[in-house]
Amino acid sequence: MAVTFDDLLPAIVKAGDAGLSLAKIRTTFGGKAAAKKVTPELREKLATLAHEGAIWGPLKQGVAQLYFARGRGPSIETASRAIVTLVASSGVKLISKPGLGKKVTGMNKKFFPDGLKHAVSSQAIVELTCGSSKYYLHRDVAAEYFGFEPAEQGRIAPASGGRDVTAAASLTLDDVLPAYRRLKAEQGGFSAVKIYDLMKALNGSKEELHRLLIDETKAGRVTIHPTTTVDLPKEEMEAGIRLAGFPEPFVTVVVKNDP
């Protein structure tokens, strides 16, 4: 069955973040003369779809010119996310601007300058200067080393950490153990308890629990474990501990040598 212009938008939508190249569009929708040039009808259809906001492009990628559906393909936000991930995985090893630029590849590369500004302005990363060179550090890494709270989504962490020191001192492993043991018993004695369940049982602050668990992990009294499944419930993912250099949140905890 012959393809029509009505199939063009679905095809671009289906191409997702990879986009659909003009050459491919031309050969599929451009009729017999497709191999040579873009027909006026096709050019008009593309312009109409772009005008309506259903698609955007073309984006030059090498020799290809790519079209994307609305909300798909590279953007300042996707470049920003890639940059934040790279800086986070670098941990306390500071990464320079040229170094970062080399690591942002593919279609995000075009949006690197704006993506970097976006990442800094959203306070996901901080820009440090040494002479004329610029380096970047992830806010969670800084939070971990300076002992203040990692910022909530969309909220800026207070410079002083903002943590209630009195409250911090109040939560200890002994406070957590009764709830841990009850949850462990409820699941038949299996030792890995969900941090989400523990948080609910304690009815306290997530940050406080995270701080305690990280401290106890460093001390070797507990172990924390990342998620096993890639489709974990959202609330369990959100209750998990995020550590620099580890893409998945740590969602369960085991108290060692607890009978």
Partner: protein
């Protein structure tokens, strides 16, 4: 200065999944010693004192090894267990069964496939089944001699040593020949069978049959007709009349009937397994390891069948230890709630796996780098810039696979400092790795009805408008793809008895007749390692099969490549379910369904690009079985001259692409014999990758 990291063709940290416990060759000092010791302590209760046992040992509860997350080394622990037990146990690695009504048949088949392998890969090593048979027969004769006249009793120590395999090599052939001659007639068997009772072994009136079958397993050549018949009897398959005569069995001993229900097949399979476990009193205990249990999670019937198996293993089978591995989340949330409360008690308390600490991480990384012959300076470079200290700055321990993934990144960065991070592996890449791995190991290519069932059930459900499910009231065609106007049925049969095949064909005819105008296709898949059917001597069965072929009955002869692809598909899906790869089970399944869509369509519509066997007389099916049945391992390998070429090339290059080796040999079709030779040679190792297989030279002690 050369960068030795850049020169390495294989990233030594790429391989982060244990696919077969026997692949485990290295373990970090102290890592997971506690869980391993707990399992070994349970095994010690089976292993105490001299063989043979005065009576079979009652089983303990199934030992439940639980991982807090993926990649903490469940399968690796099984590998260590296998290594630690060595020749003290027959170790059976059980991938998930798929038919809840024939779970014991699946377990029995895997047990016998294991027993048919040698204990190690050294040339001329006897199969474990042969050793079990010799051990049993020699001990029984020793029991008899023990109470005889002094000159007869003098032979007892030598017989016991023959049974345990500790007789000096020079004496072995003579003693074996003497034992074989002793059992050549029925008289000694009739007398000696009664001695099984003295050790409280009850084989339900089949004691003589068991001894006759063991005689064939002990003394016949691997390819002999009689040994094949013995294996069929052990697999609970019915025997042809000539096979009954070869084994000198009574008619009543041929208890695997041709036309039976799945429940009867399952019950007989269980009795065979029960017999093998009792006879382990003379040889060594079994260790049954249920791995990949995540695969049961989406089917409550399979979970109930698993619980039932664990219950029966505990209550009715002797001389064995059962180990079950699971990821905690899957076990607690998906599997345990569906187990009968009584069955839950048949599992031990959790045996929790531990993560690797910093010292262990260093040891593991150094071992992998040194295995690739990295110089000390290059190894030190790996740990520069506090890489390891940074990794363990917050965590005291880490899942082993998480460590290996980070080490893989580190290795890549050292090899190509300026290169962008590679794109993540696609499902296609991961599938190719599994495919190359299956190709590299012949044992993984054997007939496996669970794999075929899984394919029909899980992959098959992708087709448009199809309703996939188990049939009810059918004896053989246990699975159905159903559309409003037609159905495709599947039977899974590994045997070659004419009566069974006639019954299968009869059922296909009955189904077609009952369906009226609805079209049906009825398939039975066969793999290259199985005997060919129909045999030339079949008359009645062949006539029925011819008639059935007019009603949509087809025997589908899968090629070796197709078998590898189906096994690789199942491994990929299993890896996704276990969290071993960065794709969910549904995502992996969707990809597989798209990948196999043409194959599914061919089956569904009988388009038949797959090679469907003609069952006409004189067709390829009618060839003499002797020439088409399993060939010896040696015939599957390279000849000495070609092997020498391979050894010289790999020794010189250290790591070399298999395509280069095949080019040197001059024939690409030598790939499978080459892989068989690599498998058997101590200095060669295959590294399956997404694009190719690399062959590595290994320095052995």
């Amino acid at each position: 200065m050369t960068n030795s990291y850049a020169e390495m063709r294989v990233n030594p940290f790429e391989d982060a999944i244990v696919r077969e416990p026997r692949d485990v060759t290295f373990s970090v000092n102290g890592l997971n010693d506690a869980p391993l010791d707990r399992v070994l302590a349970k095994f010690a209760a089976l292993d105490g004192g001299e063989l043979p046992r005065s009576s079979p040992v009652k089983a303990d509860r199934a030992q439940l090894v639980v991982s807090p997350d993926r990649g903490y080394g469940k399968s690796h622990l099984l590998g260590r267990l296998f290594t630690a037990l060595g020749r003290k146990a027959t170790k059976v690695y059980l991938r998930p069964f798929q038919d809840p009504y024939k779970a014991w048949q699946s377990i029995l088949l895997l047990t016998l496939q294991e027993l048919d392998r040698p204990d190690d890969e050294t040339a001329q090593a006897p199969s474990q089944l042969s050793s079990l048979a010799v051990g049993t027969l020699a001990h029984i004769v020793a029991d008899f001699a023990q109470n005889g006249a002094p000159e007869i009793a003098a032979a007892v120590p030598a017989l016991r040593r023959l049974a345990s395999g500790t007789l000096p090599a020079a004496e072995m052939p003579g003693r074996r020949a003497w034992l074989g001659a002793l059992f050549a007639g029925n008289g000694p068997i009739n007398r000696l069978a009664g001695l099984l009772g003295s050790r409280h072994i009850d084989l339900h009136g089949r004691e003589k049959a068991w001894l006759k079958v063991l005689v064939a397993c002990a003394f016949d050549d691997a390819d002999s007709e009689r040994r094949r018949a013995a294996l069929k009897w052990l697999r609970a398959e019915p025997l042809e009349q000539d096979e009954v005569e070869q084994l000198r069995l009574d008619q009543a001993d041929n208890d695997g009937r041709g036309d039976v229900t799945p429940q009867e097949i399952n019950a007989l399979s269980f009795r065979r397994l029960q017999g093998l476990c009792q006879l382990a009193s003379y040889y060594r205990p079994f260790v049954f390891c249920f791995d990949q249990t995540e695969c049961y999670a989406n089917d409550p019937m399979l979970i109930k069948a698993l619980g039932n198996c664990i219950e029966q293993l505990y209550a009715e089978l002797r001389n064995h230890l059962t180990v079950v591995t699971a990821n905690q989340r899957n076990w607690v949330e998906d599997i345990k709630p569906h187990l009968e409360p009584a069955h839950r008690d048949r599992f031990s308390q959790e045996i929790a796996l531990e993560g690797i600490n910093k010292a262990g991480a260093r040891e593991l990384i150094e071992a992998r780098l040194r295995h690739c012959e990295m110089a000390a300076g290059d190894v030190a470079r790996f740990f520069a810039d506090n890489w390891l200290e940074d990794l363990f700055s917050t965590l005291v321990e880490l899942g082993v696979r998480a460590l290996l993934m980070r080490a893989e990144d580190r290795f890549r960065a050292l090899a190509r400092p300026d290169a962008a991070p590679p794109p993540p592996q696609t499902l296609d890449d991961l599938f190719q790795v599994e495919l190359n791995n299956i190709r590299a190991q012949k044992a993984l290519q054997a007939y496996n009805q669970d794999c075929l069932m899984w394919f029909a059930k899980d992959v098959g459900q992708a087709m448009t408008g199809v309703k996939v499910g188990r049939t009810s009231g059918r004896r053989y065609f246990s699975f159905e793809w159903r559309w409003p106007d037609r159905s495709v049925y599947f039977a899974f049969e590994g045997g070659d008895h004419w009566r069974r095949w006639k019954a299968i064909a009869d059922e296909a005819i009955a189904m077609a007749t009952a369906q009226g105008d609805r079209r049906i296709l009825a398939y039975v898949f066969r793999t290259p390692d199985l005997a060919r059917v129909p045999r030339p001597s079949w008359a009645v069965a062949k006539a029925t099969m011819d008639k059935a072929s007019g009603h949509g009955f087809r025997i589908v002869e899968l090629t070796a490549d197709q078998v590898c692809e189906l096994h690789a598909a199942r491994e990929l899906y299993s890896n996704a379910l276990q969290g071993n790869i960065a794709f969910s089970g549904p995502a992996a399944l969707a990809w597989l369904q798209a990948r196999f869509a043409p194959f599914l369509a061919d089956i569904a519509a009988a388009g038949l690009p797959i090679q469907v066997r003609s069952i006409d007389a004189g067709g390829p099916a009618a060839q003499q079985p002797k020439t088409t049945e399993r060939t010896s391992a040696a015939a599957d390998m390279l000849d000495a001259e070609r092997l020498r070429v391979v050894l010289d090339l790999v020794r010189e290059q250290r790591i070399v692409d298999i395509s280069v080796v095949l080019a040197r040999l001059g024939r690409t079709e030598l790939r499978d014999p080459l892989l068989r030779s690599v498998e058997a040679h101590p200095n060669l190792k295959a590294h399956p990758g997404p694009k190719t297989i690399f062959l590595q030279w290994r320095i052995t002690a």
